[in-house]
Amino acid sequence: MIKVSINNKIEIFEIDCTVQQAIDVLGYKSGAMLGVAVNQIFVSKDNWTETLLKEGDKMDILNPMSGG
């Protein structure tokens, strides 16, 4: 198992968990408008299924929000 920080909250995943699997496990709806960065590096949606998470990674999952 690995510990990964998701939006600043520690979550536990299986080893070799991909970004896509983490998103599914966390309960984000399929087709939701999400942007992902791992360790402050953008991960395109095209690469979610092949990007592996590692112990100690910090992943940000963002949604549209109001802004000025």
């Binding site: 939006n7 600043n8 966390l26 309960g27 984000y28 709806k29 939701a32 408008m33 999400l34 942007g35 992902v36 960065a37 402050q40 590096i41 953008f42 395109s44 949606k45 940000d60 999952i61 963002l62 949604n63 549209p64 929000m65 109001s66 802004g67 000025g68």
Partner: protein
Amino acid sequence: MVDAMDDAMTWAVYGTELNSRFFIGSALYPSPEIMQQAIKASGADVVTLSLRRQSPENKSGTQFWDYIKGLGCHLLPNTAGCHSAQEAITLAQMSREIFQTDWIKLEVIGDDYNLQPDPFGLLEATEALIKDGFKVFPYSTDDLVLCQRLQDLGCEVVMPWGAPIGTGKGLMNPYALTMIRERLPDLKLLVDAGIGKPSDACQAMELGFDGVLLNTAVAEAINPVAMAGAFSKAIEAGRIAYSSGIMPSHESASPSTPIVGTPFWHQQQ
């Protein structure tokens, strides 16, 4: 005069024709419904928005998006809250994928107290994003040299502040803004932030700025929908005034009523 009126309505940024010079924010409204009504009342073609962390059970992001997409406006995602070039670059890349636009309102904050842009991080991020194909709308201070450097990097538009974000203080340094306008005549300029009253927006347009970006002054009005309309009229009036040629000011009085034919006292001499 007809040309001045037409010019007030239509212009282009990064090859996109716009029918308003008002860029409006989507934050701080009392409700999503009022946000939607205010944006419609503003007549703005461009709406700013952002990305934020949300848990999967929080549906507010989806709801917000439903309100925004129905407006049919061009989207200008921001990098609000970023304190380094790398943070801003990453957020811009995420925004491009989600919102399907290469426009980015680039904010790199250097000081948390007055939310002043970091000029060095701003230049670093601008250079990287332009190389990556972005159309950058940098939020800058009113420093002439910084605006020049942003233009040199390839920005077609720069957005100096009128005053710190959310203060409503209006144009704190009209001299600096005027100097930027005069020294960089080919650069498209919007005043971004600090506008409090429609007259502030009108003043920016009278200085020759191409547009105004604001949020708080509308969203925190008692009647945001009516205030959005007031700002729309002020921005248009200011632009028409600028295009029409504002008279120079003079130190001494000059009568507007003709002297010739003045009754009474002149004849008594």
